[in-house]
Structures are given as structure tokens and as C-alpha cells.
């Protein structure tokens, strides 16, 4: 579905990422794992079309979309909800931008509110919500722009451990019911193993994809997976690959 081929990007004459190729197939939840500052966000900016790569190209369903924003959802680390708009206005933004009348946009957005656990918050302002709710609102906004393909940059990293665990569980459920496709960034090994079908490990200076690991998606449905032997084996594998470059 989404494919990046041999992408290289320089910032101020220093190479940030080098010869990166990734692919996300329809229905997959793929994770980009790597330390902070390795160029994961740069890669996302390139995939989303906000930034042009110096070399390489990005394809969506076979079509070259290099440097063209507006083709997929891109949820950044911060929730970036507009402080001066109500929650319903905030999540309806992608629909309104596309020309949907406000009333219709609100109705469509509202139909997802219970599923995204935002009931009763329509008329509230972002600063009145908890961190988890804000993140879910941002996710709903991303979903309403393009549910088929989403780029998620550390969507849960700003949350405390308990909220994070609940959000991950909820996210897996939402993701599988809507049969969405997503590529997400994390530096949390547990999160990567828990959520993804495949993991790309990014390391080095400049950042390169050094490994690709396939996981079986049965994992997610098992409530005890996080404390199972299988999980630990995965973790050992990932950490080993990561640490040895």
C-alpha cells in the first residue's frame, strides 16, 4: 500500500537518514523502532509529503506521491488540538477542510465518539480533557482524515504507564475492527512487540533500517501475552538486534 524506496535526507549538509526503504501492506500494523534522534520523525515527514527527500521516492498504491501532502493521516507526538476549538470542532477539522458542511461533519464525527471514549466531551475545550482523552481525540481526527492509512508518531509516549496500557489495548481493538493500516513510531520495545505485525529497527548515524522482524499477530488477542515466555523471547531478539546494530 505505502512504499518508500531508497530514501535519503540531508539537513544542513549532514545526512540524517540514508537509503531507507520501508513498505506497509494493507491491513498491517507496522512499527518503526529506534532510539530518539535516529531520524524516525524525518522519515515520517517524508512519507507524509511534508518534506521532500533528497534521494528516493514514496509510493502510495503504486503512484509516486513524493512531496505531496494530504494523502494520509499523520498524527504527531503532541496532540496538537486547537485550544480555541471545542473537541467536536477539533475532530471535525479534516471533514470541514474537505468541504463537508459543518453539521454533517459534526454528525459523522459524533458517531465515533462512544467508540473513541469521548462521550460527553463534544462541547468541552481540549484543556479540560485528560491526556488520554486528548490523545484519543487526536487519533479520531487522524482517523477521520484517512482511516485507511495512518502514520502515528509515538502516539502513546506522553502518557503515564497505566493510561498507556489501557490505550494500547483499546487501540488494538479499534484497529482490528476498522481494518485500518498504520505505520507507527516508538522507542518502547514492549509497545512495538505488543502492537505490531512487523517491526523495522532503525539505528546508526545516519539512520538506516538495519533489521526487519515479523511477528505473529495472534499475540495481541492473548491477554497474558505481555508476561508470557513468547513475549520475552521476542524482546530478547529485538533488544539483541538493536544493541548489536
Amino acid at each position: 500500500m505505502l512504499k518508500a524506496e531508497h530514501v535519503t535526507k540531508y539537513y544542513q549538509n549532514s545526512k540524517v537518514i540514508e537509503d531507507v526503504s520501508v513498505e506497509v501492506k494493507s491491513g498491517e500494523l507496522v512499527c518503526l523502532l529506534g532510539a530518539s534522534g535516529i531520524g524516525k520523525t524525518t522519515l515520517f515527514q517524508i512519507l507524509s509529503g511534508l518534506v521532500r527527500p533528497d534521494e528516493g521516492a514514496v509510493y502510495l498504491a503504486g503512484e509516486d506521491i513524493t512531496g505531496q501532502p494530504g494523502k494520509m493521516s499523520y498524527m504527531q507526538q503532541k496532540d496538537l488540538l486547537l485550544p480555541f476549538e471545542t473537541v467536536i470542532n477539533n475532530v471535525s477539522i479534516p471533514l470541514v477542510l474537505a468541504g463537508t458542511p459543518k453539521k454533517e461533519a459534526h454528525a459523522k464525527a459524533f458517531s465515533y465518539f462512544s467508540e473513541f471514549r469521548l462521550e460527553g466531551c463534544e462541547r468541552k475545550y481540549p484543556h479540560q480533557l485528560s491526556g488520554g482523552m486528548r490523545q484519543r481525540a487526536a487519533l479520531l481526527r487522524a482517523y477521520l482524515f484517512s482511516g485507511e492509512l495512518m502514520l502515528l508518531d509515538e502516539p502513546f509516549s506522553a502518557l503515564d504507564v497505566m493510561t498507556k496500557a489501557a490505550m494500547q489495548k483499546w487501540f488494538v481493538k479499534i484497529f482490528s475492527t476498522h481494518r485500518s493500516t498504520a505505520l507507527f513510531i516508538t522507542h518502547d520495545v514492549d509497545e512495538a512487540i505488543l502492537l505490531s505485525d512487523r517491526i523495522y529497527i532503525m539505528a546508526g548515524v545516519p539512520g538506516k533500517i538495519c533489521h526487519e522482524i515479523k511477528l505473529d499477530s495472534e499475540n495481541r488477542s492473548d491477554p497474558d501475552f505481555l508476561v508470557s515466555q513468547r513475549f520475552l523471547e521476542c524482546k530478547r531478539l529485538v533488544l539483541g538486534l538493536h544493541l548489536n546494530g
Binding site: 507524509s48 509529503g49 511534508l50 504527531q76 496538537l80 486547537l82 480555541f84 471545542t86 477539522i93 477542510l97
Partner: protein, 251 residues
């Protein structure tokens, strides 16, 4: 409760200080250190204000009309200029230093020129107010527009928003605080600008009233006009503050 109490006591300090100043002023007058025709007592000023009130109110109305008209024009053109300069970086680089340069020209120096060019009517007055108010509004709005989080702009771009959509849906609302800071400053300037331009001639306005009573050496009326000018400025600024609060219901 304590917060409310705090805000009341905080307001008492300046009130007490003003009372103290008034008392000192009265003492100077009562003791006749300065002759009363040079420095009227606070009581005489209040008397003049009350006695001439209908006339003063009519002149104040003229001044306020000019000020509001000039202010309105500066808001329209100031915001428009800020938006265009924010959108086109070369224009920003070219125009911004010139804008700052124009601020070194004192309004009082160009006022006589404007009168020579445009006569004693409303036009030169409104133009002078426009010239003085345009800068604070344009510059503060521009700084508001430019300080919008680039990540938010990127988010909107990633959702396919055009620059105009980003301006309308994000930047303008995010700049409200800066805009109102500039507008408040401009409001004070607008009244000052109106009075200065009226000094140079015209049929009405507090500046005209001031030049008339000055020629009659009616210092009490002079003071009454000064007090009314600052009162009108304060009211205008308060009014803007109220609109500011009303325009941001999310606070």
C-alpha cells in the same frame, strides 16, 4: 474567596496613591504656593468639568468618532498587511524594516503637513490616527501569526489544507492575544492622535476645545479637558478588553 479579597486589596493600593496625590495637589492650592490662575484646585477642575459638561461631551464625541474611524481603518489595513507579510516571506523581509523606520517619525511633526495638504476637515485627522495606529496593530498581529506552532501548520498541511485555510482556521484565532495587545496600545494612541490633530485646527473635538480655553487662560477648563481625554482613553481600552474576553470563550 481569598482570591477575590486579594484582588480588592490590590486595587486599593493605586486608589490610595491617587487620593494621596489629589490631597497633595489640594494642599499646594490651598496654601497658595502657586497662584490659583496658574494651577486650579482639584475642586475647581471638577466644577469646570461639571459646568461645561454638555459642551465637553459634544467635543469628546467628535474626538471619539475620529479616533474610532482611524482605529477601524488601522485594524482593517493592519491585519491585512500582517496576513500578506506572513504569507510571503520576501515581502516580510522587504517591508518590515521600513515599517519600523516609519515609527521614528513623530506624529506631531507630520500633523501640520497633513493639515496643509488636506484642510481642516476630518480627513487629515483620521489619516494621522491611521498612521499612528497602523504600526502597533500590524506588528503585533504579524508577530502573533508568525509565532503559531509550525507543527500545527504541518498537521493542517498533512490534511491537505491550503495556506488560506490555515490562515482562517488556525493562525487568525491563534493570534487574537497579540492582536488585542496591539489594539489596546493603538486605542490609547488614537485618542492622543485625534487631540494633536485637533490642536492644529478644526470645528470640534477636545483638542479644539483645549486651544480655545487656553487662549482664554481658563486653566481649570484646560485640566477638565485633560481629565476627560484620559477618561475617554481608559474607557476605550476597557471596552477593548471586554471584547477581547468575549472573543475568547475557551478561556
Amino acid at each position: 474567596m481569598t482570591k477575590k479579597y486579594q484582588s480588592i486589596t490590590n486595587k486599593m493600593y493605586p486608589a490610595a496613591f491617587i487620593l494621596l496625590l489629589l490631597l497633595a495637589w489640594s494642599l499646594v492650592c490651598v496654601s497658595k504656593i502657586v497662584p490659583p490662575y496658574l494651577l486650579p484646585s482639584p475642586y475647581a477642575v471638577i466644577e469646570a468639568l461639571a459646568g461645561d459638561f454638555p459642551l465637553l461631551a459634544a467635543h469628546a464625541g467628535t474626538t471619539l468618532t475620529e479616533a474610532l474611524f482611524g482605529l477601524f481603518l488601522s485594524v482593517v489595513f493592519g491585519v491585512l498587511t500582517a496576513c500578506v507579510m506572513d504569507r510571503f516571506e520576501p515581502l516580510y523581509l522587504a517591508v518590515y524594516p521600513v515599517l519600523v523606520l516609519t515609527q521614528t517619525i513623530p506624529a506631531i511633526a507630520i500633523a501640520p503637513l497633513l493639515v496643509l495638504w488636506m484642510g481642516f476637515g476630518m480627513a487629515p485627522k483620521v489619516l494621522l490616527i491611521f498612521i499612528t495606529c497602523f504600526f502597533p496593530i500590524a506588528v503585533s498581529t504579524l508577530s502573533g501569526l508568525r509565532s503559531v506552532d509550525q507543527d500545527v501548520v504541518d498537521l493542517f498541511r498533512s490534511m491537505g489544507a491550503s495556506p488560506l485555510q490555515i490562515l482562517a482556521r488556525v493562525k487568525l484565532k491563534a493570534s487574537l492575544d497579540s492582536f488585542f495587545a496591539g489594539l489596546k496600545l493603538a486605542a490609547a494612541y488614537s485618542i492622543i492622535g485625534a487631540v494633536i490633530s485637533e490642536w492644529l485646527g478644526g470645528a470640534g473635538g477636545l483638542g479644539v476645545y483645549m486651544t480655545r480655553v487656553r487662549k482664554a487662560y481658563a486653566f481649570d477648563k484646560m485640566f477638565a479637558a485633560i481629565i476627560l481625554i484620559s477618561l475617554v482613553s481608559l474607557l476605550l481600552m476597557k471596552f477593548i478588553e471586554i471584547i477581547h474576553k468575549k472573543s475568547m470563550p475557551w478561556r
